[in-house]
Symmetry: C2
Subunit: 244 residues, 2 copies
DNA sequence: CGCCTTATTGAACCCCATCAATATCTGTGG
DNA sequence: CCACAGATATTGATGGGGTTCAATAAGGCG
């Protein structure tokens, strides 16, 4: 009998959580079954279309969430319109900013996104009682910090070509979370961002991003499929280009 | 009777901790007196000269630490020598990477630094027992994450002039942690980094940093004192230049 | 198809990097 | 105290990677 089957027959686990990634790899892994049950009473699953803001910057958000599917972009904006995407989040990441009434970043759905939302209050209470939960949140914060710093290196010191290679490499890993692609197996990946988003992520312009795409295509590292899909022909070469 | 006097006469607080900032504003505020006493048995105060590495990336560090004085720079290095400083840390910041055997960043003393070191094992054990301690560490991680993302915006989207203005503004705030300087009071600040460090922090070259310094001097925003000291003549203007 | 959004390609420009020279600082020893 | 040497900082001249401005092409969807 596999794990999934056992879960289905375990009446203590809330129905909405049974197949949820967040319960295994996400912050919900830090909760006991009864806590999960308690929280699940006030959760709601929401589907958010691409382009929609998940949390408004100008108001205190009253919910946290876990991503169930899709990609969320975290971004910062300057008054004159310059924008920087400071992070991408995938299932089963936690979304929200504990210990602060409002986040310093805006969260938008990059693709269609489904999230499991729960009241801030409910989670805050639970955190004070369940050390494992805070531990799980702490771990994610530290992982995001490592990632943010890796992107600082990219933004501060890497060339346009290296930046795009980094990005495609990063997306490829997230498309195959369980087994990193072999060095020279072609990998088809689905890019969850527009050229404008990629530019805002990499600190470039859309024109430069586009030019680097064609450069990678001309050198045979990637091949264009349709629209947002790309096939990485030589994974190892892409990693080398990213110089990481 | 002020706080300090009371502390001196409180035999439960370890002598080394009595006047320590970390006990009030740092992670040690998350520990009870008896826990503090237990940890203090295995702590040691170290003085580290400027330029020395605190934690190497290639070996598993067996200690964590709290900064008591001085400035620590966290940096990342590319194989070809390109470098990016991804964060600065001041007293009473915690140093180390919980939940991972090795950090993805190198920590170097930017100035002479004194740290309170304690064994990883001791803190790890304590964290599992003391939720407030993990909470304090979690808070610092989230603050550092916010800061890293602010610098991502700077590295990705701001001009050289804006970057240096951001930097000086940031240093000025850390020189006066308790009361931000008034809009037009001249503020003398002590820059804890060399031009090379500033360049590595801002994703620029030393030449560009130097040129932006003279530009700020020519426009009267700052005045040069001696060597690493600078007086900010118009604080509000500096903030505007940073466009933040 | 026709319209609008998104992406690609081209040409000119500019900010910052690079290369190079000079100046200033800092510590050491005569 | 000054002279000297190495490190650090400033300034100048030139060049290049990426931006900007502009036009064309390719998708997406009614």
């Amino acid at each position: 009998m596999d794990d999934t089957r056992r879960d289905i027959h375990n009446s203590d686990v809330p129905a909405v959580c049974v197949a949820c990634e967040a319960r295994h790899r996400g912050v919900c892994s830090g909760m006991k079954d009864d806590e999960l049950l308690e929280l699940s009473r006030s959760t709601q699953i929401k589907t958010i279309p691409a382009g929609t803001e998940l949390f408004a910057t100008d108001q205190v958000p009253d919910h946290y969430g876990n991503i169930l599917s899709g990609v969320v972009k975290l971004s910062k904006l300057l008054e004159d319109g310059r924008q920087q995407i400071v992070g991408l989040q995938f299932a089963p990441d936690f979304i929200g900013r504990p210990f602060a009434d409002q986040s310093s970043v805006t969260a938008d759905a990059a693709t269609d996104v489904t999230v499991c939302m729960f009241p801030r209050r409910a989670l805050n209470d639970m955190v004070t009682r369940s050390p494992d939960l805070e531990s799980a949140l702490h771990r994610q914060a530290l992982d995001e910090l490592d990632e943010a710093r890796e992107w600082m290196l990219t933004l501060g010191r890497r060339t346009a070509e290296e930046r795009l290679a980094m990005f495609l490499y990063y997306i490829a890993l997230h498309n195959n979370p369980y087994e990193p692609p072999g060095d020279d197996d072609p990998v088809a990946i689905d890019i969850p961002l527009t050229r404008a988003d990629i530019a805002d992520f990499l600190g470039l312009t859309i024109e430069t991003v586009s030019r680097q795409f064609t450069k990678l295509r001309n050198t045979g590292v990637i091949a264009k499929l349709d629209g947002r899909k790309v096939r990485i022909e030589r994974f190892a070469e892409l990693r080398d280009l990213a110089s990481s």
